[in-house]
């Protein structure tokens, strides 16, 4: 747990999002942001009280503040009903179905919503952000079903499930209307979780219903964590590729920086640089003097992985914009001169993040597909530069890595199916008012599944390459390995020692090691830092 992160709608980074979502780093509302929020909130209050009059003396309609929602914006809502309007929106929009969103994702979603509101253009109270921060800091995590959002008008249903816990209806004491939340290990009605955490639920003010629900924060939470994990996965896959390169006695001329500079994709150059770093000092690569080049799964690693890196960096750039974006509707520009400072626009639409998440899936899928082809080479007798077929131990009766390789192939195919883009689809909703929607939430959910699958594939490559290198060490000293691959070899050796008897248990043990970050840290401690597609800042 580090120092508290100030939320201001401007400076949230991937690293801080991960720290809050996964490591419970505390957050608070920035002082300047509180001031900005207060100013727009005061204006919304005047609008809701009907104090904004046009030259004919009529109160000006402001969407969602004194009108209905969606296609119901044509209807005016009297001031005394503004709170009930918001509360009704939260209840009726809590329409999710299916399995629950993992807690780390819910936390990221809450953080993103709080940060978007801290920008001070939504017109809601500072206490809304402060309460969200309080929930994050105390560990009150609402239950959010994962299906049902079209990602346009934002992730309405998922955010409404959060709103049920955060808010309390005017004259509505019914705890069964407060959703569910986890707190201190218990599953509780939202109202009780908040009470136990010592947090006061808020009675919705005008605009609060829209402010809490309008934005693609579930999409962005899923996509941001997927992009972060994908970025770490790429480094992991490059470590595995370097081990395989060595195991296959590959030709490193393909990694020459002068060559890579002649087709200067940033991703390919970074990948080649990482591979050179990892293989630095290896006396096993380039040891077959008659071999002039390797097959694509080895030789084209910088080009394929590089394209994935470039795709991920693009996705991450889009997501990084969304981390600090206003996504509400309408937006209140308090410094504008006119009477109506509310601007209805389409800022909530999930398309930019949805398309990025779809591209992220393609990039992840190819990382796994490339890794699987290297496992195939390592396990196939006539392709592996004379490694034992299937990488079996000559002393032990078994099929070596035959079936784990089949598992990897199955996961590649699963990822190909998941890579089908969601953002190309749309179904008209809301009486045709919301007539083209993003389907971004599905894209981002599937991106997370793709990362999990690809991680398993790379773990199987790590074990395969480790096993292959063990055979190479019959003829070589461990000191012949590269500086990075030697550290990787030792780290895998340590975990394989204590892993169970079956391949399944070994894969799980390696996966636990790599997802904890300890493996990459161990390698980088020897090789020096490796380049990542998604910058930490």
């Amino acid at each position: 747990m580090g120092t508290s992160i100030a939320l201001n709608g401007e400076t949230l980074t991937f690293a801080s999002l991960v720290a809050v979502a996964r490591d419970s780093q505390p957050v608070h509302l920035d002082d300047d942001a509180r001031e900005r929020m207060t100013r727009t909130y005061e204006w919304v209050g005047r609008a809701a009280r009907g104090e904004l009059l046009n030259p004919r003396g009529e109160s000006v309609p402001i969407y969602g503040i004194n009108t209905g929602f969606g296609s119901l914006a044509r209807l005016r809502i009297p001031e005394e009903q503004a709170s009930k309007l918001s509360w009704n929106l939260m209840m009726s929009h809590a329409a999710g179905v299916g399995d629950l969103v993992p807690e780390e994702v819910v936390r990221a979603m809450m953080l993103l919503r709080a940060n978007a509101l801290a920008k001070g253009v939504s017109g809601c109270r500072p206490s809304l952000v402060e309460t969200l921060a309080g929930m994050l800091n105390a560990g009150v995590t609402p239950e959010v079903p994962e299906q049902g959002s079209c990602g346009s008008s934002g992730d309405l249903a998922p955010l409404a499930h959060l709103a049920l816990v955060l808010f309390q209806g005017p004259d509505d004491e019914d705890v069964t209307h407060s959703g569910w939340a986890s707190f201190a290990g218990d599953r509780l009605p939202g109202a009780i979780a908040m009470e136990r955490a010592g947090l006061q639920r808020l009675i919705p003010g005008p605009k609060d219903g829209l402010a809490i629900t309008n934005g693609a924060q579930l999409t962005t939470a899923l996509a941001a964590l997927a992009a972060w994990d994908a970025s770490e996965l790429v480094v992991l896959a490059e470590i595995a590729a370097a081990m395989s390169w060595e195991a296959i006695k590959g030709v490193t001329r393909a990694l020459d920086p002068r060559i890579q500079a002649l087709r200067p994709y940033r991703g390919a150059q970074d990948c080649a640089a990482n591979l050179r770093t990892l293989l630095n000092g290896s006396r096993i690569v380039d040891s077959i003097h008659a071999k002039v080049q390797d097959a694509y799964a080895i030789r084209c690693t910088p080009q394929i992985m590089g394209a994935s890196r470039d795709g991920m960096r693009f996705a991450a750039q889009q997501i990084a914009i969304e981390l600090n974006a206003a996504t509400d509707n309408p937006l209140i520009l308090a410094d504008e001169a006119g009477l109506n400072k509310a601007y209805s626009a389409g800022m909530f639409h999930g398309e930019p993040v949805g398309m990025a998440a779809d591209h992220l899936k393609v990039a992840i899928c190819e990382v796994g597909a490339l890794s699987e082809r290297r496992i195939f080479r390592l396990t196939t007798g006539n392709l592996s530069s004379r490694l034992p077929p299937l990488l079996r131990d000559p002393e032990q009766p078994d099929f070596g890595m035959m079936v784990p390789h089949a598992t990897a192939a199955s996961l590649v195919s699963a990822n190909r199916a998941l890579a089908w883009p969601s953002s190309v689809d749309s179904i008209p909703t809301c009486e045709d008012q919301e007539d083209i929607v993003a389907m971004s939430t599905t894209a981002a959910r599937h991106a997370r599944r793709a990362v999990a699958n690809a991680t398993q594939i790379v773990c199987i490559e790590l074990i395969s390459a480790f096993t292959a290198l063990t055979h190479r060490l019959d003829e070589h000293s461990i000191e012949d390995l590269g500086t990075g691959t030697k550290a990787a070899y030792r780290a895998i050796a340590d975990v394989m020692e204590g892993a169970g008897e079956t391949p399944s248990e070994a894969i799980e043990a390696v996966r636990d090691l790599v997802t904890s970050g300890a493996f990459t840290r161990a390698v980088e401690s020897q090789s020096g830092p490796l380049l990542r597609p998604v910058e930490i800042a």
């Binding site: 119901l72 179905v97 099929f399 079936v403 199955s410 909703t429 079956t502 399944s504």
Partner: protein
């Protein structure tokens, strides 16, 4: 009430029975099965040709099988325990074990009946292993089957009872130790059994969903006061598709006696008028798929096969292509059932298309009514479309090019089950909208003092037994969850 016990004979296990066993019914072997299995096991032990296990080992691994049978069995099973990912549900594990028992009960695999008795014992006591769900290619060695055998015969892993308490095989006095022969280990692991088991569960769910879709569409017909000419039997028969004729007949029965619907008034939009065409095409597909899955469930999908009268055969029966293609098509059919259902929900919540209040609630504006229910349906339909991407068109060469074309049936089955879940929720949403619309229609405010048909009356009553009318906004999620459960439980069949 004790659960029924089904007899397994390797030839006549229905998809309904497999589903019932998966959900807790008991199993026993039919008369004659033990003798048949023993005969095939005896044939192999009398067989003088090369041992199939040695051959398999040599073919795959390029070297001799281990010297002792026990060593070989252990190494073979251990090597195949390579599954990853989230665990299968207990229902899926029971289905998988039962499907494998049935295949082996046909007596083509040289496996002794006492081996299968272990699986029967575990199923009937509901002691089940933990089985990771991912990693199968739907061809040859199935990692999930290996995880089951690994635990069931005490090599490793764990077994749990229904409450999650661990069960130690060694403490079960009524279990004699069994030493598997190498061929038995092969027979326990070989074949696309995971895809078959999950596919059969998907088929059974699809049947419930299609019947539910007819109930829901019929109630929507009432809500929009549909023109019933589109259900005319003679007209539908001119196109010769049996599914459409059958769907229309069912819907006419639901709508019998309705005075809300009309005949010959005006053609309705496609999501109403073309319901028999779409649900009928899904029904025709389901009939073909159910037939395929029944054959697969009762087919010899292990390898090699022992035909005591003719010898030993290495064949490609282990390849899951029939299952993979069938389940890919089931995904398409179910996605269409959901897609047209969502369009009806859209119409009913759309004031200008339905003639009812926007989002089916009075005083809309302050209330959003069922606005978000339609969004949820749209989102689910979109997800179904993406999951309908076919798995069977993919393949990757494996096992040093010996298994150079595989079925990916396991991927098709996994996504097919996901689609069945989404379709259930979409149909629940249509039912909720249609019920709300019918209640509004019949409230007297719309000059429609009609009555519902005999079937649709019951459907409305069943919806109302689960969710009350929507008079002012409330939390929507519990209604969707409760109706979704009712759909899955078959309450609208």
């Amino acid at each position: 009430m004790s659960a029924p016990i089904y007899q397994i004979d390797g030839a006549n296990l229905s998809t309904e029975q497999l589903s019932a066993i998966a959900h807790g019914a008991g199993v026993t072997l039919a008369a004659g099965v033990r003798e048949r299995m023993s005969a095939s096991a005896q044939w192999l032990s009398d067989h003088t040709g090369p041992d199939p296990f040695d051959q398999k080992w040599h073919w795959l691994a390029g070297h001799e099988a281990p010297a002792t049978a026990s060593e070989g069995v252990r190494a073979f099973l251990r090597s195949h325990c390579a599954g990853v990912g989230p665990p299968l549900s207990r229902i899926e594990i029971r289905a998988l074990m039962t499907a494998r028992i049935n295949t082996l009960a046909a007596g083509y695999s040289a496996i002794r009946p006492q081996v299968i008795d272990r699986y029967l014992y575990l199923l009937n006591h509901d002691y089940l292993p933990t089985v990771p769900s991912q990693g199968s290619l739907g061809a040859a060695g199935c990692p999930q089957l290996s995880h089951i055998a690994w635990a069931a015969f005490g090599f490793g892993g764990t077994l749990d009872d229904a409450s999650g308490n661990p069960v130690d095989l060694r403490e079960l006095a009524d279990l004699a130790p069994i030493a598997l022969t190498p061929k038995e280990a092969l027979a326990l692991v070989n074949g696309p059994a995971l895809a078959i088991a999950r596919g059969v569960l998907a088929v059974e769910r699809a049947k419930t969903l299609l019947r539910t879709a007819e109930s829901a569409a019929s109630l929507s017909f009432e809500c929009v006061q549909a023109d019933l000419n589109c259900l005319n039997d003679a007209a539908l028969r001119t196109r010769h598709h049996p599914g459409a004729v059958q769907v229309a007949a069912t819907m006419r029965a639901h709508l019998e006696g309705s005075t809300l619907c009309h005949t010959g008034r005006a053609p309705d939009p496609f999501s109403i008028r073309c319901t028999p065409a779409v649900l009928g095409a899904a029904q025709d597909a389901l009939d073909y798929i159910a037939t395929t899955m029944h054959r697969e469930l009762n087919g010899a999908t292990a390898n090699p096969l022992i035909l005591p009268s003719a010898g030993l055969f290495e064949t490609g029966n282990l390849h899951g292509a029939p299952t993979a293609m069938a389940l890919d098509h089931l995904k398409v059919a179910l996605a269409q059932v959901a897609s047209i259902s969502e369009r009806r929900a859209f119409r009913m919540t759309y004031g200008q298309l339905s003639g009812l209040p926007s989002f089916l609630v009075r005083s809309s504006g302050i209330n959003s009514g069922l606005m978000l229910a339609q969004y949820t349906a749209a989102s689910l339909v979109s997800e179904c479309k993406s999951l309908a991407f076919p798995a069977s068109v993919d393949s990757l060469p494996t096992a040093q090019h010996r298994e150079d074309h595989v079925s990916m049936a396991s991927i098709a089955a996994e996504t097919c089950l996901r689609i069945t879940e989404a379709v259930a929720d979409v149909l629940a949403i249509e039912l909720m909208c249609a019920a709300q619309g019918c209640d509004l229609r019949m409230s007297g405010d719309f000059n429609d003092h009609g009555t519902l048909g005999t079937g649709t009356q019951q459907t409305l009553a069943r919806v109302r037994a689960v969710v009350p009318k929507w008079t002012e906004d409330r939390v929507l999620h519990p209604d969707l969850a409760a109706l979704g459960k009712a759909v899955r439980d078959g309450q609208f069949v």
